[in-house]
């Protein structure tokens, strides 16, 4: 078996005197879904941005095993890193407006990655876009509508399609279901679970919702004050929390 897909070693990021994330190390294996949970302000999103090359950590390194061989994410040239992020990686933001091109139609949004890597056949791009729209359960007659005309849940699904069209191996997700109502959340989670399984995706998922973590992730890291206080298999962490903070977190879920 090959090595880990993504491995972080001692990732630290400071904003002035404030430490947003301190000495985080882990390995992500191919096909694995890793959850990062913690309360707001615990450094989850900063960690995700450092992993995805959107921020440069002050210390530590992130290594990624590309199809062609392992690379140091932050040692890459900007050109190669950007190429990586639009081919082998995906990034699903909490706010769909950040991840989508709001002025372009749904079809163009899905097709953008294809065009960026050189696809120049309009009919072909459109067919692929329609196919992906179907996979994320959006009606085909919305293909030429702009995301501004979409509901929050549809935008989020469109964003997922836009990222997955290039068949990435690793997807970063920042609260993909945050701010959506419960029934829409459930549908998206269902969809994500299916896609992750079918496409053999590896995922780093940031969420504050332990229910989402339980449903989607294989392994869990619990963060508090920028540090990982506990990690392990999801069921193990949630059923038998060891750290006081995790215990508090688990105990604070409202009974359904």
């Amino acid at each position: 078996m090959s090595g880990p897909l993504l491995s972080a070693r001692g990732v630290t990021k400071r904003f002035g005197g404030r430490v947003a994330c301190r000495d985080v190390s882990f390995d992500l294996w191919p096909g694995e879904v890793l959850g990062v949970v913690g309360e707001s302000g615990s450094g989850k999103t900063t960690l995700l941005n450092c992993l995805a090359g959107r921020m440069t950590p002050d210390a530590g390194s992130v290594a990624y095993d590309t199809a062609a061989g392992p690379v140091d994410v932050h040692g890459l040239s900007e050109a190669r890193r950007r190429l990586l992020t639009r081919t082998e990686w995906g990034f699903v933001s909490q706010d769909a407006r950040e991840g989508l091109r709001m002025g372009a139609s749904a079809g163009a949004n899905i097709g953008e990655r294809l065009m960026a890597i050189g696809e120049r056949h309009y009919g072909e791009i459109r067919r692929t876009a329609a196919d992906w729209l179907g996979r994320v359960e959006i009606d085909l007659d919305r293909l030429d509508d702009r995301p501004t005309a979409f509901s929050g849940g549809m935008r989020q699904r469109l964003q997922i399609a836009r990222n997955l069209v290039s068949r990435p191996r690793l997807v970063f997700m920042d609260e993909p279901t945050g701010g959506l109502d419960v029934s829409v959340q459930a549908r998206i989670l269902d969809l994500l679970r299916g896609l992750v399984e079918n496409l053999q995706l590896s995922v780093v998922l940031v969420t504050h919702d332990l229910g989402v973590a339980r449903l989607l992730t294989h392994r869990l890291m619990v963060m508090q004050g920028g540090q990982v206080v506990e990690d392990g298999l999801t069921d193990q962490v949630l059923d038998d929390p060891q750290h006081a903070y995790t215990q508090m977190l688990v105990a604070s879920i409202l009974p359904a």
């Binding site: 079809g107 163009a108 960026a116 309009y122 009919g123």
Partner: protein, 285 residues
Amino acid sequence: MPDTSLPDTSLRDSAYNYAYLDEQTKRMIRRAILKAVAVPGYQVPFGGREMPLPYGWGTGGIQVTAAIIGRDDTLKVIDQGADDTTNAVSIRRFFARVADVATTTRTEDATVIQTRHRVPETPLSDGQILVFQVPIPEPLRMLEPRETETRTLHALREYGVMQVSLYESIARHGRIAKTYNYPVLVNGRYIMSPSPIPKFDNPKLDRSPALQLYGAGREKRIYAVPPHTPVKSLDFDDHPFEIETWSECCALCGSRDSFLDEMIVDDAGKRLFVCSDTDYCERRR
């Protein structure tokens, strides 16, 4: 057509430096031009000066022309193809006065042609220089408002977003509906905005024997296409680039292969198509 330059301009106005700009400025602009020619399609920033005409009237083109013009040159200035419109006449007179150059309306006699929004119909030849007046030099500007980001996109050759805009056009109109300022790929490297010339003129840019210089005064950018450089209009494999066609011919000269302007000539809405290139049209009659 009679030459519209001032009758008393055989002598240069000595109150101004030759060609209006001071020598240091001309040197700076020439350096920018050299760089632009060395990297076809790349937008070179330059320190644009105040010119005695408003932005949008050709301040970029006029600075480029001032930097390259010499006493032996013959200047032609066109505005939307016409030699006799206000803008063209005033710029021609300006250079006759401050640079003591001969002016002409005949395309083949000119050594420098400053143009707003057209390429002459008469084929250009070796040694001629075409100076374009450019309002918005950045082809990605309407798609990406951040300058830092557009520079990065050019540097890394990430032109997917340009293709997205063409995709949108087909999805909305069934064809690529852009008719002017149609984006081109220069020498297989940089995407360039060919200033708002009609796409009818795009094929004339490709491997043209004339040097093309583009000056944007407000945005302070100069870019260039050296002679015989490939210039490709962007398109899709199944929606290839096409130029405009007309069912009519020119009402004055009968031309079927020049760019035609549509004019409404009476209150009943009677319409007429005439060549936009006045020099070409008049000499065919």
